[in-house]
Amino acid sequence: MALGWYLAVSVLIFCIGSGGVLVRRNPLVILLCLELMLNAGNLALVTFARMHGGEAGQIFALIVMVVAACEVTVGLGLIVAISRRNLPIDVDELHELNG
């Protein structure tokens, strides 16, 4: 397969993820859509690594996975803290930082 096809898949997944971040209002699903965008970036990085013949792109992809895992941990901790206080799980309702 020509490597452009992999980049096309990556573009489609990134756009689906960005549309999901804008449309959905549940913070859990927004985190899932962020994962989609990070994975699209990963696919592009691995494709470029294959194109270039070096392994640096794969290292980049692994570091992106680490960052994504950290982001998920903190984000889910925030969601658990929100649900503990019986606040609505809705990003349009949660527009105040005080408390």
Partner: protein
């Protein structure tokens, strides 16, 4: 063969991504993301990135998704509120515009490798040995920073999600816990330290008394505190 595998994996990945965005129940969205991640791992394998594919399946589809499932079960946000805002229309429009722009950029690129099938690579390209060697030599700083970031994120998650006293209405009432009846010989701490002698409990049990066995008196509890 590789073309067929590519199209199967790509279509599953895109369907999974659409499922994440469109499914109403967050649990189904998580399952769609698992599907998407496994298909993406197949694409990584086709790109000769074996270690990245294995890490994708083990770390992402395994560990991170289990975390998601637990939080979805804890929060239980099954009912998504109907959105009536302007982003409902603007979001998909933005996504389509972004896709068109990126496709134009891809078609108009001067990158010669985009039509090729990849550069020549050495034996063992992308296997754990090479990746590990690179991580401990050329990219050692990134490796250490990543480990520090994981530590900070773990501590941050614990601090964020811990139970704070006084913030919740349903704080545990210790009096009600003390007053719950416990049968004799169920291994209570009071039995272990001999606060209540066993014979006494036996008499109470046989006498049919409805007194609570494990519950200490109020005076004792206040003395301890």
């Amino acid at each position: 063969m590789s073309a067929a595998l590519f199209f199967i994996a790509a279509i599953i990945a895109i369907i999974g991504a659409i499922g994440v965005v469109t499914l109403r129940n967050p649990l189904y969205a998580v399952l769609a993301l698992v599907c998407h991640l496994v298909a993406l791992a197949a694409l990584f394998l086709l790109l000769r990135a074996e270690f990245v594919a294995a890490a994708q399946v083990v770390v992402y589809a395994g560990a991170v998704m289990v975390l998601y499932v637990f939080v979805v079960a804890y929060v239980g946000g099954g009912d998504e509120i109907k959105a009536g805002n302007s982003l409902r229309i603007l979001g998909p429009m933005f996504a389509v515009a972004l896709a068109i722009e990126l496709f134009i950029a891809m078609l108009g690129t001067g990158l010669s490798g985009i039509k090729g099938h990849g550069a020549r690579y050495k034996l063992g390209f992308g296997d754990p040995e090479h990746i590990g060697k690179l991580f401990l030599t050329d990219y050692l700083f990134a490796f250490e920073v990543a480990s520090l970031l994981l530590l900070v994120a773990a501590i941050g998650a614990i601090v964020l999600a811990r139970r704070r006293r006084g913030l919740e209405d349903d704080d545990v009432d210790f009096k009600t816990i003390r007053a719950t009846p416990r049968p004799a010989y169920t291994g209570t701490i009071a039995e272990a330290v001999g606060v209540r002698r066993v014979l006494e409990q036996l008499e109470q049990a046989h006498g049919g008394a409805s007194e609570l066995v494990g519950a200490p008196r109020d005076s004792e509890a206040e003395d301890e505190s």
